[in-house]
Symmetry: D2
Subunit: 371 residues, 4 copies
């Protein structure tokens, strides 16, 4: 019996657009999904660009009008990888048209917008997904399972960061990422580590923020210079509902760092250490190991860590970044099929947005803020 089709419309064909398509084409081969996925329509800014993308990416149709893509009754799922400022309008239109929506992070510049989006999706009954791909890593699922099952004992501390250096050059021009509404390193990168923090340790209840701008002005790209108000580094101290304390940092001027999405979790009986720089490994310290034999052990990803085994039957072969995107797609598609709740829906995206704003407010007000 043929599987029902899930017909996909993609808006945007850049870095994340390609990653989505990678996910859509890989997920059905790796996972036993309830739906067949069909790449129906791709939208880009011009007809030519869209047509070229359709050809390269394997979409049946193309358009320069994203509204017509959303309106198309032959589209079931809309993937949004357009610039951040457009996320809200596109998402609300897609939701109104009854489509499932897969939107890249951040959901919207402001938590209020994100709330409107989450509310709309739930009211309309469509499924949603926000692209927080790092939490799709089997090693993070392993970490969460170990924490949940008590292997670390009572959780006491979390230390996380997401640092890159792609804004470290003071001569690189200001972009939409420096927009005071929704911009900054905390929103851009710190959001990832906030997602990881709650994924692993549960809800954060209070934050104390410190957002700092180190590069005070940048070229405006038109020969002039523009003052920068958004943070280059955003940090926070954390209180979790479970009593643990912690800290996070988002940093886009960390010279030399390309993907330092790292964390350590300390419990009363064990600890975990992880670096996205070597994301097929999880380091585990067990307080239960015998004396003189204790130490952080380097667990390499393998078939024991679902869904790794669906990609490769042998351990140590490693997943890549695009594979994480395939896992993300699979999770979303099976949520659409009703197999499980949305792994990271708009409500979860709103949550991250709220945490970011709470930290920004805390930083401005110079005091702890409840979330």
């Amino acid at each position: 019996m043929a599987k029902p089709k899930l017909r996909i419309g993609l808006i945007g064909t850049g870095f994340m657009g390609k990653a989505h398509v990678f996910g859509f084409t890989t997920a059905p081969r790796v996972f036993d999904l309830d739906h067949e996925l069909e790449l129906r329509t791709v939208a880009d800014v011009t007809d030519d660009a869209a047509a070229g993308a359709a050809r390269r990416m394997g979409f049946a149709r193309s358009t320069a009008d994203w509204r017509s893509l959303i309106a198309d009754p032959d589209i079931d799922l809309v993937s949004i990888t357009a610039p951040n400022a457009l996320h809200k309008g596109m998402s609300l239109a897609a939701i109104a048209a009854g489509k499932h929506v897969y939107c890249e992070k951040p959901l919207a510049p402001q938590a209020a917008d994100a709330r409107e989006m989450a509310d709309a999706a739930e009211a309309r009954g469509v499924k949603t997904q926000v692209g927080f791909n790092y939490v799709c890593n089997p090693m993070l699922a392993l970490a969460r399972d170990m924490i949940a099952s008590g292997e670390l004992g009572e959780i006491r501390g979390f230390r996380g960061l997401h640092a890159e250096d792609y804004m470290a050059d003071a001569g690189s021009p200001a972009t939409f990422r420096h927009d005071p509404a929704g911009g900054g390193a905390l929103a851009d990168l710190g959001s990832h580590v906030l997602a990881t923090a709650e994924y692993l340790c549960g809800p954060i209840r209070r934050v104390l923020g410190d957002c700092a701008t180190l590069i005070a002005e940048r070229p405006d790209g038109r020969g002039g210079r523009v003052p920068i108000a958004t943070d280059d580094v955003g940090r926070a101290f954390l209180r979790f509902e479970n009593g643990a304390t912690g800290s996070i940092e988002g940093n886009w001027i960390a010279m030399g760092r390309k993907m330092q999405h790292d964390f350590e979790v300390y419990g009363s009986a064990g600890a975990l250490a992880f670096s996205q720089e070597r994301f097929n490994e999880l380091h585990f310290y067990s307080g239960g190991d015998r004396r003189g034999r204790q130490g952080f052990r380097r667990i390499e990803a393998g078939p024991d860590h679902a869904p790794y085994g669906l990609f490769c039957v042998a351990p140590g072969h490693q997943l890549g970044f695009n594979d994480l995107k395939a896992i993300e797609v699979a999770g979303f598609v099976q949520a659409i099929a009703g197999r499980h709740p949305e792994p990271f829906g708009f409500r979860a995206g709103l949550r991250i947005q709220s945490l970011v704003e709470a930290i920004q407010q805390s930083s401005s007000r110079e005091c702890w803020v409840d979330v």
Copy 2:
């Protein structure tokens, strides 16, 4: 203008069969190939198995008769991922039918067979590829470029190994991999590091081998036990044409190792160190760095290391094992299109087989053997 189609027939649907399909579906999205790839027919041992595989993997047709697949005029390229003993017969049949052939390693149990295969392919004018995927890593291309361009100076030493532990359990039964004809750790795993050695440092001229069986008998899978004659560890000392010396080891009882395909290369002006356990990194020591600041530097894979940038525009995001397979497919397909020589054709596969046999002979005769 539509691209010409390259219609694919796949024989075998296991670990490597899946990896090939991954390659065939990913490569056209990542690379700008001259051909469109079409998954036409898949063959498995029964009609049902083949039909199921076709559905899961996206092939249009299926068959339990690999000969009919090869005979099908609508097939241009035959992928062979069946058990090793069948590689030769299937390859020769496909070559005779004028198909391009993509065969998993080892090409054949014996070098003589491999030679017959390489000769046949060249005589018939079809293109071939053997699946030595580790050399498809952009970091190995980087290493080779650095060596070729003289960044390391005169090459003096190579130390390589490929160690895993999947045969470390003495209670795991004998398989076809223990077949005296073509079996053993050297042929299975050492072959990979021999490929890497010549990929980086050029032709090996002499070998001194040491093949050892540590687990002298194994369960036969039918309640009895069977003596084992093939090597669990195969080692060799090497002399390269360029004057360098070196050593390799293939080992399938290296407890705890899942993918220790590691090497170090020493030159007069610099050195490289690599581990497949962290295969998105290459460690480079430059003798030219100023005093007091010298050290192995950890280069992370990024868009500067082609073709990484086709998978991801940002550095540090990392490729996975299946991505290496996509690079392998792309290289083969573009060779079929005449864009460049075969990256690792049957002639190259024969070369590895010859090296393996020379080492085995050297080990038996206990003396150096010219290659």
Copy 3:
């Protein structure tokens, strides 16, 4: 011509007492000091303990009365490794007697006490040293030199921590380290990373603290339980005078960590990463390396990094913890000889104490505090 003698009196014979003696006996062999060092008298709590220590450690005399040791005109330098609460009284007595004083950290429970001690020493004209040994590492001197010479460009960020797990067991009893006056993880361990932060990046001007108690009560060692008010984790955000921002953490419940005195420093042109877990290495990222060859390079300690070469003429052989103490002693003794200012005198110890208190106050008041 014989060197003048510097006659040493040691109070306390535990962990740090042994380390001081190691320093006193090793320093003169490794360094060309202006003084000959003589182990004159050791004081412990009983006559027997002191006599045994004298015999084992090589002191000529022993006493159970530390006041007589200080009063002895044949003593030039008093080493204080007694419990923290006694540091002030002993130091002031020694200063009053005109002795040079080498006191283990923390100088005193409160900054006010530390100030009194620093003032007294300066008024009396004696030299002082506080035992912040980690900054004696040649790799930290290298880091500081690289920062000072501009190799990293403008310094933008510092991230440091000192985490151990020796208080992670909730069943381990309260000690003097849990005393509300002067106790806690921030004072005990965070003080080290504050010393490193200012050693590398210069003065800190503002702090935002977060001190948390995770283990709310502990055994009192007499069968009962006692509530704990001191922090198990003390964190702070930092503003440096040079414009850089940063963060530190002191943590004594970081399960699995034994000596995680780690830092990263980010500049506009390069970065450094260091871990005390591998303290004979400094990792350096140079933005000036050519494209495609950039990465953190692992500089191993060697004769290029003074004073390593005095310990060993070959690189890569490594210093140990006790060697750091010998470097500390040598620096102090040469300061006494007038060769250079005190490397880490009581004024510097007071500075650390002030930073700790500022962070503690900030944490209580929940706002930024100027230092």
Copy 4:
């Protein structure tokens, strides 16, 4: 009651001379030795040099005549750190004079000489020690204990090397280390890893050698050039008495390596990995760890690993190279006191020399050689 004195005469004041003195002065403070050690006399090539060394190092007397040092009835133990060619004559003289002898490696250029030395010492009844300091590391003792106690199961494989780059510069002149009698990388550095191999895995029974000269001539230091016959790289395959197989490499042209004394040991139940570059760590893979939680665990040196605790009561603080020398001295001195057999006497030094020669012969004859 006073301890009996062991009066020491040292010949040679270079790198190793200093290291011996470090050992003699540190060992009695760290260990509870049966003897008091007294630095009596030091010999160097001139009176002035010897007098200066005595002053710096703390010897009571000095001499330019090593024969008089040996003849001195007030000397009990003679430490020999003079050039290799002198080891035999000095040792035999000291043995004849009834002194205990502590001689740096290699014992002698040829095994026959080493045998004469070992025989003489045993005939005379004096105790001897050869300076193979790396095996004094508590982490190697841990490794040996784990192997001996069966934690790794049946031992199947050893892979070891000792690589440095101090001869990598083709422009550095020939030295006594290039002397065909006793010279070469295998004898100089490979000897260390042979010592480690047998320390851990027991006797080696057969070897297959490969010694290669890569830098065929060097400056002679007098303006001319001299051909080089000794090996820059010496390798061997090994068969151990316990059935394990293995390989070693000694290499002094391994660009970038300063102290790559590394090994891996594979057993049927576990594995160990070690690098001298981080010699306060031992990496242990236990096949008994539960599924999904397996991995090499990084054991940090601490008080659980005797004699670390005598140097420092807290784990993770780390020993340095000179501390290994102190452990070596302590072991020798207690052997003199009759507490245990000589840890690495002349008989053991002869053993290493025999292994080196067997490998050299095997390399020349191009066949396996029994040891």
